[in-house]
Assembly symmetry: D4
């Protein structure tokens, strides 16, 4: 019987197919499995490769075989720099409501940077002291996409989306206690937000928010519709 | 076997005991039961008596026996004016996030008025267009208590509480659809709010919010602690 | 006491502030309130104005005062054509998993069109007969944004996102029965999807999906980051 | 990249704006972050500063830089005495249903004291042995606000509110097991309570209850409405 | 294919086996099915037969074939008197918290009577006005079993059980609104009650409460353990 | 400030009032608090005193001050024998569905014994191998009350109640995994059981089941109703 | 814009691909849509075609264009007989716990028959009167697959699976009230069942159960593994 | 008092009765209990015996008394080879969506092998990279039963079932985070799947899936219906 690591089928064509590289979700894998997969990825691609939800111990295993692997502690990301991806000229603002939301914010920020975006971090601007947000709103508006990270009542994305004309990606976090039910409260708030132009990702999923942001900033250089040949016979 | 109406035990001593009059919760009672209870209450007290969650049909039954009974349609309240209660000099601001929240806002506003407070209605100031709220904030601050009513993501009370120095009473509503789960979303948001000084009542419970507001405005004339003799041997 | 309709504060500056026009959410408002608000909106803007979750009865009330108002039955949208907004050259594909999801798909499609996008409808391509989706995938890929609408198990957005390099907006619907719990099942599936590049909106919220899509297609003409002056002192 | 602690934006104007000082929620922050924030707060204010949900280890870090910092073990609060805030003359009774609810009760009691109130602790008076509550009820009534803390079935606030004429703040706790679902049971009980004059805060949120109580006792010296100039053009 | 009614297998030996007669749960059955089953039951037994959750229409169908069938409107029970079961000498007190809980209380009371118990109805004694309960407590104590019916916060059974030395059967009701979630709130309260000696039945299940009460009052004449020969080889 | 232990108000009159002695719920209390409370109880009563949910460490603390204290490991009960309570002649059968349910079964069995009942343990008779239950059913029937303990699908009480004529007390356990949601599954099964004569207690609450059983076996010597003077003026 | 009906993509190759014919889920479709789809299906296949969750009104629309269409009222199925599918020689037993579960049982039974199986209906054999089930168990065992349909506590499949050596398909129903939460209770029971050999389908999904049963009876004529050439390079 | 282990009633007749051997669920049992039960089983049967959810420590205890006991680490299964059961000629494909689902896949695969089936493992073929699944689909189709294991959004079984003509057993896993709610998300997805021919088992229940698969492959040699004598008088 082969061991589990052998069964992993890294998705080498993903980049070509979806524009997104294969990224390792480390949680639930052993350090050895992680190291083994990252080595295989590093042979297949010239881009940055990285793993999320990684521990120091995971990093130790990876750095033993890929010495250039760095560890972003707060973001919990192991990154192995590839031949730097072409700058996409996208500007992403990552906002957090509180300081406890920063690890998720960092997962989003570091991921967005690794995917080739310019990132501005604007942390601790939750709505319970709304002047903090209002003070930054003009600069926030100058970005292409806004990632708004919030736990507890999770109202930040809704308030922000009411003030800007760009897409807002809402990331609920499990920060809080009691009736936050590990992030369910913030998730429901964001899904029910009345401001338009908001897309929600999973609780604590900074990585997913950054991927979506990257696909959106990928629009900047896109062809206009007039030049596209769309013919679908429904 | 006696019929259900006969079993009702109107709580005539409630006013004396708790400072709050007995109020009829009409939903789930027949028009006849409602009329019968209100007649009995009107004999016992000289204050305003009223019933909440009442329909036109309920009002028809009451007005047949108590001709002075009025019906506040949007608030769904039947009110029978008593010897007007002494003005308590309390000022209550009732805010709603959207127009669909107004019936609950009205239940709160009319109840607070019937209990002897001065009420200012400030409706449709939800956080997705926060300038609407900011435009009113100075006036809002001049009230003794603020009742903030909101459905969907329910972020209004939290944002307001971050800007004022008086108590905020949060009323989640069942307004919304999909993942609002009939108000659960707004309730969780409010319970998890990070601004301090907020107390939450049941979904759509405008009446309860007004009762709490009234107990708070009842503090204005209270004796100072220094003059109180508190001795509890724990 | 003023009636609720009078309290509505249509958000005339929203377009300028957020790039999105004020749209009327008709559900929970009376036909009269809807007509009154749309008349006021029509005086303030030269763009398309419209209302979602509208009934035939709502349309009757609106058409009485705004004769050019049209009713999109399946989408449940009342639209009053304004001076047509400038074409944004965005191409949006709206997919539904089943035929019962079409009303939500239509809400998304009609909204996207009213906001100035070119829309392709690709309906009934759910994953339980995946060849239907595979047959269309090449054409789907040619759009700027994909809106994937699905009830029941809600797996469509995840499968699609694994095959394209553009943003996917996931719309869970309440279609299904039993343990779908009115759309909760599809919502959870989409929030937990493992494909990256997906943002989720509320259950049955075709309107919200189209607004987000429109903000994303609005990126096409955006300035590159290098030319933006972002300076935030964190 | 700056570390998270640097991103924290202590809300120095909160006191002026909301009447409530900035308080540190220690859970989820490192001892170093807590100490750093408290030092900065101590430079900005002459009032008591404090942190909740703090451990002994957190206290060790704070006392190293602020030697006067005390630790209230049961309340899990680190307090640094400032120039004592002016006595507000408010009297707060803190009740708990059981002995296991005492830590939450203490968080409420110590917070209320730090904010300048006189506090009476009345613990272990749950409704399953109601004579214990009845024995104290006369003294309880002499306070301005009552904080009722209860886990399991959480019936205490409702029973108390039926016997007093002052506001009751209900604090559900996570005390219990099985179908208490970490406090959900007590939360629902309190939100559904039929006694009026009750506001609910988050599960185990003794701090929040005390803040609300303090805002209510802050009413005692307030101006009467007649003297207030409220003019809002709705 | 036989029709559904034909498939019903009335459990004629249930009385002998479990001490409880077969009772028809009418909800979800057609009036014809109900009438047909009751006729068959009436041929098999000389005891009272009855059906719960019955409508007037159901009764019409039954009385057409069993003219002696009576309808207890508030209890929603159709009863066909049999040869009266031997008096069991059991005394059951049925308490309700509010007037809206009376239909469930009546279902319990009428069922208990039909099973041969003496029933005392004590309605509208909820804990928010606890003096009402205290006034009756001495009489309540004189019964063999207490059925406590309550919706909303559902605290009645817990308070009662703390004052009596007999078994208490707790019946949550769906009475309430908002966060009562159709009775879930009261159910959780009762399941988490800290008073001992309480058994809980399903939401609105007055019938089930009465059956359990009847089995308990059936203990009165039981043999003492010393005379029982129990030998189980585990 | 007094420490929490001092605030405990052991309910010395409970026995007299409710027939049930004060029992210590050890979970969430320190060994010192437990020992201190048990000493106080031992001074007040001549009956057995005991504490549930106790650890070996708790027992160590108790035995240091009350040397006769025993520890029932599987039941997690510390018992201090008093002057043995008069035998009540009640016979209780404790059934468990699986072997993993035995600790809860033991909590019920030991408690029932300490309260003065004769207990028969019949373990591992779950319905998935129903012949095991059928083999014992005749002996089971000879008891006055049956406590049926089950996790996972929790069907045991319903099946048992369909075969006996005595009260069945259903105890859901948290045994299982996945969609058992820590006992919610078994709780719902039992609450929805269609067999009559079943009362449900909290998840894993063996103690509560035994208390209810004891109140029921306490019926055996009760006076008949005819001799009781019940007069309640409703 | 084409209407929704036109967008439907009947899955004509499904039979070939999956062995299952395309079946119309009528709920949520208009009678016209249903009729239109069934006509198209009838042109493509020579097998039985049918639609589930159909009303009389739906049948009226279908029979107008396909006169041979029959309506199975209790099963809510419209069936248009095709060239009868080859008999598969499979024997399916459909059990229901109660009479109210029969409509779901009939949906399963009629579907299984339309797919070419021999079906035995054994209704009203719920576990609360287990002798009813025991009386039939020998005959039940003689079938190839057993479909066990149950609402409320949903224990039937588990008990049956413990007595037979063939696959059991468990169908939870929404039958019940209160804490059955529209079938969630029965679903959880069945998913947590401890008997092995059980697969669960959606609440009220008699159709899905029959499809699974049909795939299982389709095994009877299958080739043995030894003759299969399976080579997968993992 | 006997200890718990003694109370276990291994179900020695299960094999004969249900075709499935008694298997030990090790979780929640002590190593000693496990070893003791397996020894007893080994004396009663000549088939493979095994225990699931076992740890290394459990295995240590078993191997001390049954030296031939093997430990399948990833599957967490202790297996004691018996006289090899007759080959049933069944072919089972076990699929997992991701690598983190492999432990559950292994529990299914090893169990199916121990029960006498030929198993093909096809891991890491989740729908977010659907080409991986499409590449294997022809080989997958050649099996008699497919077990599809997936966490997160759990869409694999539905997609697979739309492409094959054999039964699919869906196993949700607790793999994921945030709104996966420990597997609830995947469970709901699978229960709501629109492809027919799918039966669902409990979260992480690889063992149960294999048992069901084994009962299905047991059909291969079954008699045809025509030769069965089924006579049930309903």
């Amino acid at each position: 019987m082969k061991d589990g690591a052998e069964f992993a089928r890294p998705d080498f064509s993903r980049k070509e197919r979806t524009g997104a590289p294969e990224v390792v979700f480390c949680q639930g894998k052993t350090p050895e499995q992680i190291a083994s997969i990252m080595v295989r990825l590093s042979r297949e691609t010239e881009e940055n490769i990285f793993g999320t939800r990684a521990t120091h111990k995971d990093h130790d295993a990876v750095v033993a075989v890929l010495p250039q692997a760095m560890y972003h502690e707060e973001a919990r990301i192991i990154a192995v720099p590839g031949k730097r991806p072409a700058k996409k000229e996208g500007a992403v603002a990552v906002l957090t409501a509180g300081t406890a939301d920063i690890p998720v914010g960092e997962e989003a920020a570091v991921t967005a940077e690794l995917l080739g975006n310019r990132v501005t971090r604007i942390y601790d601007v939750g709505v319970a002291g709304i002047h903090r947000l209002l003070d930054c709103i003009d600069e926030i508006k100058e970005h292409h996409v806004i990632i708004a990270v919030a736990g507890m009542e999770g109202a930040l994305p809704s308030v922000v989306a009411g003030m800007v004309d760009v897409p807002v990606i809402a990331v609920p976090t499990s920060v809080g206690y009691g009736a936050n039910f590990d992030g369910l409260s913030a998730l429901l708030t964001m899904i029910n937000g009345c401001a338009s132009g908001v897309g929600v990702v999973n609780i604590d999923n900074g990585y997913g928010a950054a991927c979506l942001a990257d696909k959106i900033t990928g629009m900047i250089g896109k062809q206009k519709t007039d030049e596209i040949d769309i013919e679908i016979d429904v």
